[in-house]
């Protein structure tokens, strides 16, 4: 996890297209520039970054389901709940599910755990937007491989 680069997921441990489900894991870094401000002397994982973790876990699944034909841009967060505090060193697990694939949009549900307890959950809306460039798609594909997302199985 590199918070300052928005690299939230360390690796995927499950990508199940049939079940429309992904599971990912990550470890909150012990040090990050983010913690210098959030908060001085009391490093705490920002809740918005837990939302981002859920958005990425489910967003990769949306990409797979749509064959990496566009970027799933986070467009809405509903019923977002941040249930407990998360600290540096915590090991997190996230689950993402796609509950509806619309035309040009998708709806997902995601949840995160720490030490077996739910720390966050939300319903997420994605708008599928064109990639800004072919290079972007290539970079995304390389990023997917670094986090064990089987991009080659799904890319169209």
């Amino acid at each position: 996890m590199r918070l300052e680069y928005f690299q939230m997921i360390d690796r995927f441990v499950e990508v199940n297209i049939g079940e429309r489900l992904t599971r990912a894991v990550c470890t909150v870094p012990l040090q990050s520039p983010v913690f210098e401000g959030h908060f001085p002397g009391y490093p705490l994982m920002p809740g918005v970054l837990l939302i981002e973790c859920m958005a990425q876990t489910t967003g990769w699944l949306v990409s797979a389901l749509t064959g990496f034909t566009g970027l799933p841009a986070l467009a809405g967060v509903k019923e977002g709940k941040l249930r407990t505090a998360v600290f540096p060193g915590d090991q997190l697990e996230f689950e993402g599910r796609v509950v509806h694939e619309g035309s040009g949009y998708a709806i997902g549900e995601s949840k995160g755990w720490c030490k077996g307890a739910v720390v966050c959950d939300a319903t997420l809306t994605y708008r599928i937007v064109p990639y800004p460039s072919p290079h972007f798609r290539t970079a995304l594909s390389e990023w997917a491989e670094r986090i064990d997302f089987p991009v080659k199985e799904f890319i169209r």
Partner: protein, 93 residues
């Protein structure tokens, strides 16, 4: 028995917090009811679920952008309801 329009109007009223009496068959979702594109995604999701269809929003947007269709054809609610009925019929065919 409620019509397709009635169901669509209920969905819009609930999703966008618009008084039901303000939602008419002649209402244009964007121009009259001032529903923005993000709220329309919520409406599309609710319509997809309620009627077990998939509104072809990408195709409609492309047709409007290409000048092959007008927004009235898809976003005036009586027309939207007709499109939904067509999608339901096509699914059953």
């Amino acid at each position: 028995m409620s019509t397709t329009f009635d169901k669509v109007a209920e969905i819009i009223a609930e999703t966008c917090d618009i008084p039901r009496e303000n939602i008419k068959p002649e209402s244009h979702a964007i121009n009259d009811l001032e529903i923005d594109s993000l709220d329309f995604l919520d409406i599309a999701f609710a319509i997809d679920k309620a009627f077990n269809i998939k509104l072809p929003l990408e195709q409609w947007t492309q047709e409007v952008n290409d000048g092959k269709a007008t927004t009235e054809q898809y976003f005036v609610l009586k027309n939207l309801s007709e499109r939904i009925d067509e999608l339901i019929a096509a699914k059953g065919a």
